[in-house]
């Protein structure tokens, strides 16, 4: 499995995402490469990560301008063809702004930048990124954002819930930002696109205190080889 990790001007978590993809793939350097925002050729890539950071300075709204980058047009085609796409933090915002995921991310309830370890509960969503995890399982990964309050108007929220598109919820008492229904991550209807605010790529090696994020990066390869459903 070869991953492409997008890199916009202002991205800052792309190296950790690259590292996470490489570890998930068994450690070889040829298992992931960076994709500059002007690139449009994603051939040879089996999965895409849209990483965290502050793409284009977060001008206007977080993710609003990155959405129009040439690479994101290619990612939309890749997603439409069923390719797995993971958006983390700013990447989640970009995917929502692009319409590849439902909802929007607003400034945290208390306006402060949050940076701490927290717990997530795995949702019922059917996604290749969740193949290595069980519904209701709790994982511990870092939260690190200022505009992470997930919002969807009531009708859309009902659809997200009834279609089982919730991938992760903040564990009881861990919702750091006022997200509706404690939602930390959602998928598209098909399940191949997943976005979440917390950072699995910062929790893949023992020195960081948790390796719970690794399973998310291992999921698509497990799915491809017919691992757990």
């Amino acid at each position: 499995m070869t991953w492409g990790v997008l890199q916009f001007p202002g991205s800052c978590d792309e190296r950790d995402a690259l590292n996470a993809c490489q570890i998930a793939g068994g450690g070889g350097p040829d298992q992931a490469r960076l994709v500059w925002h002007e690139e449009t050729d994603l051939s040879g890539l089996d999965g895409i990560v849209v990483p965290g950071g502050f793409s284009y300075g977060d001008y206007l709204r977080a993710g609003a301008i990155a959405r129009f980058s040439p690479a994101m047009t290619a990612v939309a085609d890749f997603a439409a063809a069923g390719g797995p796409v993971l958006g983390i933090c700013n990447g989640f915002q970009v995917l929502c702004e692009s319409g590849l995921l439902p909802g929007a991310l607003l400034t945290n309830e208390r306006t402060r930048f949050i940076c701490r370890q927290g717990d997530l509960v795995v949702g019922e969503a059917d996604s290749p990124f969740l193949t290595g995890l069980e519904a209701d399982q709790t994982i511990s990964i870092p939260f690190k954002h200022q505009s992470g309050r997930f919002f969807a108007p009531p009708e859309l929220l009902d659809r997200i819930e009834s279609n089982n598109q919730v991938a992760f919820r903040y564990a009881p008492g861990h919702n750091p930002n006022g997200s509706v229904n404690d939602i930390a991550g959602v998928t598209n209807e098909a399940g191949n696109v997943l976005g979440l605010m917390p950072h699995p790529e910062h929790a893949v090696e023992a020195f960081s205190g948790s390796t719970d994020g690794l399973a998310i990066f291992q999921g698509p390869a497990l799915t491809a080889t017919g691992g757990a459903a």
Binding site: L106, T107, E109
Partner: protein, 76 residues
């Protein structure tokens, strides 16, 4: 060229965290009797025509899920 101004504000009913933060700071500065502070933004632009401004707002300047916008054209 038409001079236009787009006003973008958080939709009613959505918690405006910035507005709340500004409101929360007012008593300490001695401002009493001010409430319902909401923070939005203004985009000023010049355009050859107003034809596509609505589309521009829908696609880029505002996120219609969370924001309302108004387009004002300013004469001369």
């Amino acid at each position: 060229m038409i001079q236009a101004r787009v006003l973008i504000r958080p939709k009613e009913g959505i918690l405006d965290a910035q507005g709340k933060a500004v409101e929360g700071a007012l008593p300490a500065l001695g401002f009493e009797g001010i409430e319902h502070v909401r923070v939005g933004r203004i985009v000023e632009l010049q355009a050859e025509s107003i034809d596509r401004l609505e589309e521009l707002c829908e696609k880029l300047l505002a996120n219609p899920l969370i924001e309302d916008y108004e387009i004002e054209t300013i004469t001369g």
